[in-house]
């Protein structure tokens, strides 16, 4: 009971902090709208609107009210989930995002899986055999991948794997005739729901290259962070104590060294989840995929300011939520953080 109260107190505090951050972000976005060169009403009405039309739009959007009132009504609209209206699609930005987001989430999810599945084992082996052949080659690879522009990596892989060896499709989300009825908007999930296994593997086949390109840069960060943390932990006394108990290297690494090195990796991957959605802009464009990245790219190209800012607001919210989840995960991993955050009753 006490533990439950300690947890809800912690969650309440963290949620409060998250809301405060979002409020800051919203204010920033509002400021960006106000600071943008040009007349908002003109932008909303379109480039070839008449003066009367512009005035009508100004009145409808409340742009003739004092700035403070505009700010308050902006916040009010946000609370109701209104991110503004796209000038191009004439749809609410949120409705547009709902259509494209599942595809991005799917890409980011698979990229994150790839990222962790490659970087964590590589980091463990490199740290355990510090200075060995694997350590040296993987560190060189990490520096090269980390320094490589993602679009260039994407183009090279498209050329080699897609064009020369023809093992993966160059672009798109699924082959002709592979569509499944849209339920979630994420092609792989929809294929699974429809029981369309050929379609499922086809969508996976399409997603693997863009996900790998998206994962590459982030994997080098996770690899380096985990390797550095592990090197420190492997030198610590309790690792020697575990070895003195007769533990195998594998047991020592998986049960003791890794959990004690996970904290910075957890924090970093939380930040990465947000950054990946941002990086999706590039990958979705290069690989001609649907998603929030492609949506933002088009919005920028067509000077659709409200769509851009609405998307920024939305990505910011996702980042805040991911950080909240990371905070909770850290609490579950480390009893010392648990004691500090929850007080003694949290034990």
């Amino acid at each position: 009971m006490l533990a439950f109260r300690a947890y809800s107190w912690f969650l309440g505090r963290r949620l409060g902090l998250t809301l405060l951050t979002l409020w800051g972000l919203a204010s920033l976005v509002f400021l960006m709208i106000k600071l943008m060169p040009g007349d908002e009403a003109q932008m909303a009405a379109g480039a070839d609107a008449s003066a009367a039309q512009i005035e009508a739009v100004r009145e409808r959007l409340g742009l003739d009210a004092p700035v403070i009132m505009q700010y308050l009504s902006f916040l009010g609209r946000l609370l109701r989930g209104d991110l503004g209206t796209s000038i191009v699609t004439l749809q609410p930005v949120l409705a547009d995002l709902e259509k494209v987001l599942p595809s991005t989430l799917e890409l980011v999810f698979i990229a994150m899986l790839l990222n962790l599945a490659v970087a964590i084992p590589a980091g463990i082996v490199a740290a355990y055999r510090q200075g060995g052949v694997f350590d040296t080659t993987s560190r060189i690879t990490a520096v090269m991948l980390g320094g490589m522009p993602a679009f260039w990596l994407a183009l090279v892989l498209q050329y080699v794997l897609g064009s020369v060896w023809r093992v993966v499709p160059i672009s798109g989300q699924q082959g002709y005739g592979m569509n499944s009825p849209v339920v979630t908007g994420a092609p792989t999930l929809d294929a699974l729901i429809a029981g369309n296994f050929a379609g499922f593997f086809d969508t996976l086949h399409h997603i693997i290259l863009p996900a790998a390109v998206l994962a590459a840069l982030f994997a080098t960060q996770i690899f380096r962070t985990l390797r550095a943390a592990l090197l420190g932990v492997l030198r610590s006394d309790f690792i020697m104590a575990v070895r003195a108990k007769g533990a195998t290297a594998r047991h020592m690494l998986v049960r003791h060294a890794l959990p004690n090195s996970l904290n910075p990796v957890l924090t970093l991957s939380g930040a990465q989840a947000g950054a990946m959605i941002g990086s999706a802009v590039l990958v979705e464009t290069v690989f001609a995929r649907q998603g929030i990245g492609a949506y933002m790219f088009n919005a920028v190209a067509q000077k659709d300011a409200f769509a851009v800012l609405g998307s920024v607001m939305f990505i910011g919210t996702v980042v805040c939520l991911v950080n909240l989840i990371v905070d909770i995960l850290q609490l579950l991993v480390d009893p010392r953080i648990r004691a500090a955050q929850l007080g003694s009753q949290g034990q």
């Binding site: 006394d237 575990v242 003195a244 108990k245 007769g246 533990a247 034990q347």
Partner: protein
């Protein structure tokens, strides 16, 4: 005047009991960075420990005593070992990593200096004590039961409730009991205790020593006790080995070494212990500091600090020879004829 009984016969060293561990010409080299070169920290040490015997290994920090102890379990991944470590008939230095792992915790176990840093902060006490058994395939419930039994035996109060607590919730003395329980739960025959009381306050030190005394007697455990505290040696060990600059310089029964130390270094160590029945204004300290392992002087490594040195001391390295009931590595006791008028310390 000292009486000298030259007995170069090494076989006379055999302890009265059947030996459990016999160490022969053990050297430990530690690599220097990535240069490929290395430095010899432990330089040809030999000794043996009998079944159930308690031996203290004393020396200043850097003398190589901890590395010697860790070498017996091959715990330092970077250390390069040579020589022989015979445990119950097998040479530990020749075992595969896997076989060595099987011996650790079950035949030879270790208790460490700072109980906080030697416990995994993310794992419960119960799991850490039971781990030695779990690694060997003992079932979860059984391992927990045996962990609880050992913790109870060591006087951890409310042990049953605290199995699921974490190290940071324990006091220093209790943590040391947990570390001891981790070592004892696998029922080893040799316990290596690497300065297990150094990090504790005096009152707790005594408790832990009594406990160690108790459980090792009850279980017939052989103990290699590493310390720089001669007071602890007197109360706990039967035999004491003194290390200096990577070598053993004296080895003998505690009572006889304390009553009549042979090596000038041992004499200095004993003289440096403050005594309550002496009224002194200044405490004695051996002048100088031990040489760094990369710059050991020629001859006896102790000679620059020795107040009884003579000509041969900076030329020949003295061998560890039987002198009476002890073994001593000092030219004063090697039975050869020499002019025994130590020259004055220059500039001292």
């Amino acid at each position: 005047m000292r009486t000298v009984h030259p007995m170069p016969d090494q076989s006379a060293v055999t302890p009265l009991r059947q030996p459990l561990v016999t160490v022969d010409k053990l050297t430990v080299d530690m690599p220097l960075g990535r240069s490929g070169s290395s430095v010899r920290i432990v330089d040809g040490v030999d000794f043996s420990i009998g079944v159930g015997e308690r031996v203290a290994l004393v020396g200043e920090s850097g003398s190589g005593k901890s590395l010697t102890a860790r070498a017996l379990m091959r715990l330092d991944r970077l250390a390069r070992l040579s020589g022989r470590v015979d445990f119950d008939g097998t040479d530990l230095l020749k075992l595969s990593d896997r076989d060595m792992g099987r011996l650790r915790g079950s035949s030879i176990a270790m208790v460490f200096q700072d109980p906080m840093s030697f416990l995994d902060p993310l794992m419960t006490i119960g799991d850490q004590v039971a781990e030695t058994l779990r690694i060997r395939g003992v079932g979860k419930a059984e391992a927990r039961k045996r962990a609880l039994a050992v913790l109870d035996e060591l006087g951890v109060d409310r042990a049953a409730e605290r199995l699921d607590a974490y190290p940071h919730e324990f006091s220093g003395g209790m943590r040391q009991r947990v570390v001891l329980a981790m070592a004892l739960v696998g029922e080893p025959r040799l316990l290596i205790a690497d300065e297990p009381t150094t990090a504790l306050d005096v009152r707790v030190q005594d408790q832990v020593l009594d406990l160690l005394d108790d459980v090792s007697a009850r279980r017939g455990l052989a103990v290699l006790f590493i310390t720089h505290d001669l007071g602890v040696v007197a109360g706990f060990a039967e035999r004491v080995m003194v290390m200096y600059s990577g070598r053993i310089v004296e080895d003998g029964e505690v009572a006889s070494v304390f009553a009549k130390p042979s090596h000038p270094y041992t004499q200095g160590l004993i003289k440096a212990v403050p005594r309550i029945d002496q009224d002194l204004n200044t405490l004695y300290a051996i002048p100088g500091a031990p040489p760094p392992p990369l710059a050991r002087p020629n001859g006896c490594p102790f000679h620059p600090r020795c107040d009884q040195r003579f000509e041969r001391c900076d030329k020949d390295l003295p061998a560890l020879l039987q002198v009476g009931l002890s073994r001593v590595a000092c030219h004063l006791h090697d039975g050869q004829q020499h002019d025994r008028h130590p020259h004055d310390r220059k500039g001292a």
